[in-house]
Amino acid sequence: MQNADDKGNANDDETLGAMLSARGIGRRGLLKFAIAMASSLALPPGVAPLMAANLAKAKRRSVIWLSFQECTGCVETLLRSSSPTIDQVIFDFISLDYQEALMAAAGTAAEKTLHDAIAANKGEYLLAIDGSIPTKDSGVYSLTGGRSNLAMLKEIAADAKAILAIGTCAAFGGIPKAFPNPTGAVGVEDLVSGKPIVNIPGCPPVPEVLSGVLAYFISFGKLPDLDERKRPLAYFGATIHDQCYRRAFYDQGKFAHSFDDEGARQGWCLFELGCKGPTTHNACASLKWNNGTSFPIQSGHGCIGCSEPDFWDAGGFYTSLAGGSAAGWRNAGIAAAVGIAGGAATALAARNKSRPDPEDKP
């Protein structure tokens, strides 16, 4: 068997099965992985052997990862992904041909790598994007090598097989899009049409979601079922509320009223403290973070809805869904004044239509 090169890129002809074998991961290991993936993707268990067989035969898929107006948190979370054997392996199932944080090359060498990867895999590469794309002022607010991300996206998306918008910024615009959105940030789907797009939102997204989507794509050559926001149904079909372990307390009406109060210590529902679980679609309530260790609600903080569009502008993390944004006392005073003035004007106009003196002829 030929060894992988420094970047972990195998020989083009080598199948995944062969490559894994070289690492000591045999059929059984691959099958176990496939079972786990199938379960995670909510596929029927009978599909797992087929997945394993397909994975064994598959060639490594080229992935070009472009980081736009982002904080690198999405990349970091994926690197922290918790199953060292399996999820790391995923990155061996693909050929991560370009990723600025991870690659050794820089400057013009990096540029050349990108150019070569695109040329070599034209029409076949998966384009992974993290970070939003600024559109104001011709996208000058995020440039790579002097080129705007806006222009880069348009060009590089054209020859991609499919696009993965990773993280809420790439999917929906994310934090940069928050009011007043000075850079005109938008998500990938607002700029690209005519290509299959998967949104994998979250701030950051759950790492197992990316693994699952890639495994599915590599096994079956297509994207898994998506909802109307292009999110994989398997992971985003349910809300946090639907899968939350504290749901029983919600149903019983047991709420924490303030942080660290008696109810909070008892682990009661965090609805009153602003939890957006009911309106947030994600897998963190079931998959959790750090290999199933915990997630925000379990740690005592309400869900902030980070996988939903415009979560930053949804009226405050600590304002419950039952509340809204108040108009403010000043505006209320103005409204009252308008009402009083209008009413007074109406009454004064009407006053001389009444005649208290009966002698006063109408």
Partner: protein
């Protein structure tokens, strides 16, 4: 902006402001009309008259015995509906939470099961009242578009609230948005139609009570 964000944001602000402005307008336009001075010697002094006004506000909730046979059905349906609505609005946890966030006041909520039951009864009463309004000859003569619109604007919040609480049909976010918007529509219409009776009832009964106490007449 999603529907829910719209409902919880600009729509909420606008509807509250319209409510405040409209109510102020309607009340001031009535209060500032030309008043006739009263010189007749009252039978009772001012404290007794104020007491009479307050007493009338309370006593008119239960009609006099002489009227009961002919209006019992109307009174029972109407009372059940109003009390049910009050229980839902002031006893339901999410509503108390809203008031808490706006004013700081809070009090214990009623169990979900109780609110569910009361909601069902309230909904049924509303339907019965509508059927009555459509069939009773007096009500058919008196009723205007405002009567039916006002009914709808109260019915929708109760209905969407039930649907939201059960989360059976439609997604939570959509149901919540519809529920909030339905309440906002009611708030916007309130100052301009018969829903204003929520405030006028106290003014009217109080004024009648004071005037009639002045004369020693029956309240």
């Amino acid at each position: 902006m999603t529907l829910l964000e719209f409902a919880r944001g600009p729509a909420f602000q606008a509807s509250v402001l319209i409510l405040i402005a409209g109510v102020a307008w309607r009340l001031v336009a009535i209060i500032l009309l030309r008043r006739r001075p009263q010189f007749a010697e009252p039978r009772h002094g001012l404290p007794a008259r104020i007491g009479g006004g307050a007493a009338t506000i309370l006593s008119r909730f239960v009609p006099r015995r002489t009227f009961w046979p002919r209006i019992a059905v109307s009174v029972v349906l109407s009372a059940t509906f109003h009390i049910g609505l009050a229980i839902i609005v002031f006893g339901g946890a999410p509503h108390i939470l809203l008031i808490h966030q706006l004013t700081g006041l809070t009090w214990p909520s009623l169990p979900r099961g109780v609110i569910s039951l009361v909601s069902g009864v309230t909904l049924a009463c509303m339907i019965a009242l509508l059927i009555r309004r459509l069939n009773h000859p007096v009500l058919r003569l008196l009723s205007t578009a405002d009567d039916y619109l006002s009914w709808l604007l109260v019915f929708l919040p109760v209905l969407t609230g039930i649907l939201l609480s059960g989360e059976t049909i439609g997604g939570y976010a959509t149901l919540l948005a519809l529920h909030i918007i339905s309440v906002e529509l009611m708030m916007i219409w309130l100052p301009f139609g018969k829903l204003m009776h929520a405030g006028l009832v106290f003014a009217g009964r109080g004024l009648m009570g004071m005037n009639f106490s002045r004369k020693g007449a029956a309240t």
